[in-house]
Each structure stands twice: as structure tokens, then as C-alpha cells.
Symmetry: C2
Subunit: 341 residues, 2 copies
Amino acid sequence: MIKVAVNGYGTIGKRVADAVAAQPDMEVIGVSKTSVSAEAYIAKERGYPLYIADLSRKPAFEKAGLEVVGDVEAMIRAADIVVDATPGGVGAKNRPIYERLGKKAIFQGGEEHEVAGFSFNAHANYREAEGKQFARVVSCNSTGLVRLIHALDQAFGVERVRAVMVRRAADPDDIKRGPVDAIVLNPATIPSHHGPDVRTVLPQIDIVTLAMIVPTTFMHMHVVQMDLKSGTTREEVLKVFERHNRIGLIRKATGIVSNAQLREYTQDLGRPRTDLWENGVFEESVAVLNGKEFYCFQAIHQEADVVPENIDCIRAMLGTVKDPEESIRMTNEALGLVPIG
Amino acid sequence: MIKVAVNGYGTIGKRVADAVAAQPDMEVIGVSKTSVSAEAYIAKERGYPLYIADLSRKPAFEKAGLEVVGDVEAMIRAADIVVDATPGGVGAKNRPIYERLGKKAIFQGGEEHEVAGFSFNAHANYREAEGKQFARVVSCNSTGLVRLIHALDQAFGVERVRAVMVRRAADPDDIKRGPVDAIVLNPATIPSHHGPDVRTVLPQIDIVTLAMIVPTTFMHMHVVQMDLKSGTTREEVLKVFERHNRIGLIRKATGIVSNAQLREYTQDLGRPRTDLWENGVFEESVAVLNGKEFYCFQAIHQEADVVPENIDCIRAMLGTVKDPEESIRMTNEALGLVPIG
């Protein structure tokens, strides 16, 4: 069993911990929090050993009925690998600790590529991860783009990508961020940083991205246009998506045309935390114009799509499973990721 | 003085009426309402003669202290030209009345092109309107696209246009429509109808559009990408916009990066009803990549940008001013449309 520590038990960390616990070849040896919170009680409910950054806060945790096993360094020492799901920028500060203790670590998309020196996506570059001490799972938006671009690049060749990210304003439990009634250009300059981020995994791709933030909480919505190298049809593209195990087709027959309805659907499906781990591609939107010009809308669940990538990244880095498809299949099966459409 | 009747005194009609009243060569001879409402009181406050569709409702208006001059047909008879600003689809039903009475009429973008047989934009096809009995001012989104595309087509030639419309959910006073927390694909199919609508004015343009609705009320946000025929620079493009009298550059120095801040700005400028009559192009977003690939974000005020177009359309159809630039200058001056940036 691979011993996994989750440093930072928040939006991503709590999902990764549950995903690790569900795998047949991994166990959660600890999760960390900096202060008492609702999530700390969830860790207790799940039975994950709780570690804290600053032991002087231990009495506050214990007063709240939360047992603390030790400090974060003790947790890291006990692990084979650490998934660092701390807030953006904190991972870079944690790296020297992992180096000093000689531990492998996976950072999230909130860190710069340089913090790990290697950016990961299971379908695109699984085999390159073996033996690396550090890797970074690219952000939710980049993960969603990389999956789609890589799939079509493999099938038809991709000449260039132009994409618009219409991003959710805040996560559902984030009561401090806005806007409540505005479309915010983020950034107002063109292009956005998402294109270069995709190129940390797919360096050969000509990609320009633009981004804005709108008042919704459930998911990002991507408008993706690609010029393909070989001509194809809508039907051929749909076949590629149907065969892909992390791209879900939202069937026209469901009547779902928004992130809100899609969330209701994943909720009804019984997905934990309503998580959409795969890309949600709207079948109705898939179009091939002029023979080579691909278009679609896809929903990207900002809290969830990177979770299975973290799991695959663990196996890839440790070299316990050599074949990416085998790891992806194991991860999906353990999570209960079956086609949504 | 050109005698103008405004049939349908709502979101667009009330703005057109004020714009007509501000012109030196036009007067409002009447506006129409179907029932008592806040807007009927505004008509009274402005001194516009009030006509109603159904005279049996006259007692209800009079009980509310609103004087009714007569029915809509009487208003039409008294006019040289009618601006039909009734809800989408009603214009088509009104057309036989204008035909029977031999009156010129201007429809709005909520009607099909075929209702008028001629779609209008002041910069693009002013001279073609002369002598026509019917014209249609294209929708707010199409007006915004046509201005931008035509300007760059004149300057550099436009090879193709790809645009994403991120649309406001409802007008600010519309308390019945949603969504409040969703990104709705509208339509979920690609392309949207906006491209063909642009081509009713600019038939030569290769354009593909996509559209969605988000929870905001102030303005639409457009992501516009154009491949230009001749290579150019960001500076040359900015010069085109600076010289254009219905494209406003939102300067980076203002710090405005959203529709909400832009509305606050037009409000502070003292614009009536905070109206942004021109395209709001974000200076910071203007980019020329690879020499010929143009990008920008632009804000389009759904309630306002078609208003000056209706005014120019009146002069164009009646032939009282032959030169489009002269009419545009007169309209802008009377409205107080001075550069925002």
C-alpha cells in the first residue's frame, strides 16, 4: 500500500484524500489543517489522522474535540508521497521541507510550473513522471483543456486552439468573493495565462486563451475552437469522446444546457460532493464547420477534475503501475467514474 | 421637423423617444402603451402625447391620472415615420397596419430580417436606406459586432470573424428572468444566430458566433477575434477606434475591467439612464497576435446601443440628410455622446 499524506485538507485536499482512500493500492496516512474548521470535523468523521502545522494550536483542536496526531513534518516523514493541496503559493514554500526530508510531492495548479519542474496530465504524459521527486497537476481549467486537446490531437492532429474560459466567480462555500452581478475580464489583457499553462504539458500546441469571471459557483464553462490538421466529421469527433474515459458527453436528450443543471444531474447520480471528475462536453454543441474547424462547449468542475489526475500522478511517480490506461482505469473504477451520458 | 411616433414605450422605445426629442430636426408626436405602468408616468413627465392600443382601457389610464390622446392608429396617421419598439414578434404583426396607412416604419432586432427586408447600421449601409418604407435596426449584439467588424474591414480587410457573446441574463428592471447562479448555453448548438444576423448588414463577412447567458444585468460582453487581410499593429488598430465616433475606448488607466464598473462610470459621466450608446472596447484587451490576428473584449449595453442607430435610420429613410457622417455627428451631438476614454 502506498502511504499518502495530504498536506492541506481543503477544497481539493479533502477530495484527494477520499479518492486515495477509495483506491485498492493506497492509504491516507494523514491530512493536515492549520486551524479548527468544518473540514477538520470531516477528517475526524472519515477517520483520517489529523496533523497540524503549528503544534501550539493543539489545545484549540483538542478543546474542539479533534485529536491531533502530530505536526506536519511528522506526517510527511511517515508518507511515501505527499499531495500538497495547500493554497496557491504555499506549495512553493513547502518544497524545501520535502527536499530536506527526501520525499516525493505533488503540487497543484496554483503553483508555478517551476516549483515542480514537471507538469502532469494522466492521458498526456504519465510515463514521463516515473522517478521524478516533484510533479504538478495543472489547474482545473488547464486539465480540462489538456484532455480535450490531447484527445483530438491524437485523433486528427491539432493545428491551433482558440479558447474562452468563462469562469465561476467563487467556489460554492466561499462567501467572501464576488462578483454578484458583473462580468469581470480576468485578465483584461489578451491572451490569458491559461494557454502557456497548457503548454507546460503539451508544448507543441499553438494555443491562445481568454478568460473572464461571471457570477456563478458550480463550474467553469469553456468555449473551445480548434483547427484540426485532418478533415473530419462531427460523428467521428463524438466517437473519440465516447471512447475517452475522462470526457463525459452530456446528451442532448437530458435537456442540460448549463452548469447548474449539470450539477443537479451529478447530484442525482449520487456522485460524492456532486463531483464531475471528467470534462462535461455538451453533445449538442459539438460541431465541425468547414471540415476542419472544431467547436464545443465544455463544463469543468473546478473542485473535482484534478482529483483523479492526482491519483494517477501518485502511481506514475512511484512507478507502481507502468501503463497509464491501467492506472486511469483503476482510478475511475475506485471512484465510480462511469460515463455520465 | 420630422414627426416621429414611438410605438411601444418600453426599454428601447423610451430611450428612442428621448433621443428623438433631443434632435434639432425631429419631434415626438406620440408614444404608445398597452397598460398603465411606471413608464406611462415617465411619458407624461416628459410631455409625450400618450396613445393606447385598446381604447377600452382609456378609463383605467384616466383613473390613474394619465391623459390618453387616442388610439395607436391615430398616432400612426399623425406621424411621418414610426419607430416600432414593441416586444419581439409584435412588429411583424404591426407591419400590415403601416402598409395600410402608407407609413414608413423602423423595426427592432427582435423581428426577423424579412419583416423589413432591409437591416440597418449607420456606418455600414446608411445610403441604402433612402426611400425604403421599412427598415430594421439590428439587435444590440449585432449592432455592436457590425460596428467593430465594419471599422476593421474598412481599415485592414476582414478575412473571418469568430466571436463569443457572454450575454446579460435580464435587463436591470426585469425581476422575472434568470438565471441567478448558472452559465446557460443559449443556444447550446454551435453556431448561434448572431453570425447570420450580422450578415444581414455585412453579407460578405465569414463569421461564426457562440452565445451563453450569465447572471448579470448591465451589459453583454463580447470576445471578438478577427483574422485580418492585411497585417497591422495594436497601435494602428487603436487609432481606428480612436477615430470612430461610436466605438469608445475604455482606457486602462480607469481601472475598469467589467460591465459593472463601466456602468458606474457612465452614471458618473451623467449619461441619461447610464446609457452606453457606443461599443465599449477595453483598451487593455486590444491585441494583434501573429501580425494579422485581432482580439478584443467589448461591452455592449443592450438597452442603449441601438438608440442612435434608430435616429440615423429615420434621417436615412426619409432622405433628409444624405451623408451618413453628418447624421451620425448630429445624433451624437444632440445625445451628448462624447468619447468616454
